[in-house]
């Protein structure tokens, strides 16, 4: 058992011992395909109240045969290409037996021995706020298997209203098409695992394979976690059914910490299935510790699935047509860093804004410059209590124009213009607006000196303090001059000019 007391006793040993352990993580990602009908029946997959999306096959009515959905095969072939897998000439289906109420046939039709695709490799960037430099990671994909989803179960505890504890079953999801992606145990941290899932998600959405809403269960992730000690493999546990990026991260780290605590106290990790609770803790799921006997057998009702040359070609052509995903385009073509590219692509509104900026921008404006000014813009808009990012194409155009003029404007003037355009109802082209008001940065020393002289004369009292070397007064005078110039002189330029003025007198 894992107790609070043990934590304190091991806390000291932790640092020296930790380096001997290495987390080993493998993932199984269940991707719900966004086909119109289920994998083996033509029952619609659209959302509906409980048990409204059921055909006889889906509830295992005897005598109904499976009818394989061609679109599911097509999507599997596309996914195989994305994950650089090998697609054998033919594949086959197997029955995996469970006895759960949400699996009405008593078995799941899946692919065990002869999956539709295998031996892939998938590369992605690993980045994090606290990670100095993003790095490229490649994972081995063991196989892709087409399989049926189960129904949904709601557990009801005992109550006066509903009587003894019971499970309620909804078969709407039963028989929906899944592709399970099995990776080799090659992830070393939870961050690597979540970056893999995030990247995969964006690709699946882009190529129209999956709707990608994790909270709706479109992608469910199982993680196999173990700790190897001095390069000796440890016993692994499996965390089932995680459906948010945050949960995947926390639960994997929780499980690693839990196993470390057991192992460092000379305990034994039990091979078991665990679930992640709402906090991300992992909890034992099945009370039996004996390994489940799935009694795999070849599905007799489905002959060999021979992959036609034409199907492969169609998959390739479609991928070709769909081109790069937004995050890849932002990263590889426009030059955003891996992290920003993914974050922008994950936010539809932000993505729309950035796409507009890219369309309007001068070629010389870099991705880093756009990012820098977007951050400034965000602060401005939040302070003015308006929604970020801006929705209009007009604004995006003015925004990029301002960025390309950033060296001909003072920083304060630029920020002020951003504020005006982001919060006001300006419809005038920003260049015309700048021209009309002569907002260009004043760089000529003579002109700046004029401003300084004028202000020093105007406020003789303050000028006296500036002369005596009072720092605060110096700053005050500087600010007055900047304001007097309508923010058209850069702060540093004013400071130099005041010093010049003081030296002269």
């Amino acid at each position: 058992m894992w107790t609070r007391r043990r934590l304190y006793s091991t806390a000291k040993a932790t640092i020296s011992q930790k380096s001997r352990y290495k987390p080993v993580i493998g993932l199984e990602v269940h991707v719900q395909l966004n086909t119109l009908t289920k994998l083996f029946s033509r029952c619609p997959t659209s959302e509906a109240p409980p048990n409204r999306r059921v055909l006889p096959f889906d509830m295992a009515t005897p005598g109904i045969l499976p009818k394989l959905n061609r679109q599911c095969v097509h999507r599997a072939l596309k996914m195989a290409r994305i994950l650089n897998c090998h697609v054998p000439e033919w594949s086959r289906f197997d029955r995996k037996h469970y006895f759960y109420a949400d699996m009405p046939a008593g078995y799941q039709i899946t692919q065990n021995e002869r999956p539709i695709a295998k031996d892939g490799v998938f590369g992605f960037w690993v980045f994090d706020e606290h990670l100095e430099k993003a790095y490229w990671k490649e994972v081995q994909i063991l196989q892709l298997q087409l399989e049926q989803d189960s129904g949904k179960t709601i557990h009801l505890t005992e109550s006066d209203e509903t009587g003894p504890p019971k499970s309620l079953i909804d078969y709407n999801r039963a028989g929906c098409a899944l592709i399970e992606i099995v990776t080799s145990p090659c992830f070393e941290t939870a961050i690597e695992a979540i970056r893999f899932v995030q990247t995969l998600r964006l690709l699946l959405i882009h190529h129209n394979l999956c709707d990608g809403e994790l909270h709706k269960g479109h992608m469910r992730v199982d993680a196999n976690v173990s700790l190897s000690k001095d390069h000796v493999e440890g016993t692994r546990t499996e965390i089932k059914n995680m459906n948010s990026i945050r949960t995947i991260h926390t639960a994997i780290n929780f499980e690693i910490a839990r196993q470390f605590e057991i192992l460092s106290a000379n305990g034994k990790v039990i091979n078991e299935t665990r679930a992640a609770d709402s906090m991300g803790r992992t909890v034992p799921m099945r009370d039996k510790e004996v390994e489940t006997d799935y009694r795999f057998m070849i599905e007799p009702n489905l002959p060999k699935l021979v992959i036609k040359e034409e199907w492969r070609r169609q998959a390739d052509e479609e991928l070709e047509k769909e081109g790069k995903a937004d995050f890849e385009w932002l990263r590889d073509v426009i030059g955003f860093d891996a992290r920003s590219a993914v974050h922008i692509a994950e936010e539809p509104e932000l993505l729309t804004f950035v796409k507009r900026c890219v369309r309007h921008k001068e070629p010389a404006v870099t991705a880093d410059e756009i990012l820098y000014w977007m951050r400034e813009l965000k602060i401005i808009m939040q302070r003015s209590k308006v929604n970020y990012p801006p929705q209009s194409d007009f604004f995006a155009k003015q925004f990029t124009t301002l960025i390309s003029c950033q060296h001909r404007l003072t920083r304060l003037r630029l920020l002020e213009l951003l504020r005006l355009y982001a919060t006001g109802e300006y419809v005038e082209d920003v260049l015309e607006f700048i021209e009309a008001n002569s907002f260009w940065r004043i760089t000529s020393p003579e002109k700046i000196d004029e401003f300084v002289e004028k202000s020093m004369k105007k406020d003789a009292k303050l000028a006296g303090k500036v002369r005596s070397g009072h720092a605060k007064s110096f700053n005050r005078m500087r600010n007055l001059i900047v304001d007097g110039s309508e923010k058209c002189i850069e702060l540093e330029d004013v400071e130099t000019a005041i010093r010049r003025f003081l030296d002269r007198k």
């Binding site: 009908t37 690993v126 309620l168 910490a257 992290r339 932000l350």
Partner: protein, 178 residues
Amino acid sequence: MLRSIIALTKRSAHSGKGKTKTPFAGDEVLVPAEPYNSKIENSSLSEMPPIDASLISHLERLSLVRFDSEQAVANLRNSIRMAKKLELVDVEGVEPMHTVWEDQECPTFEDIEEEPLPIEEVFRNATVRFDDFFVTPPGNVPLESKERFDLNVINEWDTLGKPVAPEAKTTRMTERKK
């Protein structure tokens, strides 16, 4: 399959020879009237597994059929012996057959929706119904956790990052500092 063997095992314990029937009157009966007794000696078979309580309960759980008498267990033993005889068949280099349709290719169907069953049809065989759900005995509920939760301890394992969980999705811009 296991289930059917056990079911057969049970039935053979107390049923005699019935009247032979064919789907269509006048068809030839292909099943021999008398059982064929194998001439293979039991001594040439591989060793029988010990049939103990744990194996019985394992088989009961898999097949969902209860062994209700000693006779049923004896019949199981006979069935295993029968299967053991098959081990003597030479299958060297022979790919196991799994269907009689081996030369056929799996047909595929277009992704076109059909009308799902009306809800009353779906529930026609259900004895218990709760609103629009089927009802079953409670199963596979994750156990409660009383374990403490300290993100700092947990995330120390992310050698990459600081001990914080990643932010939930926000519109926060996360670009590098310029």
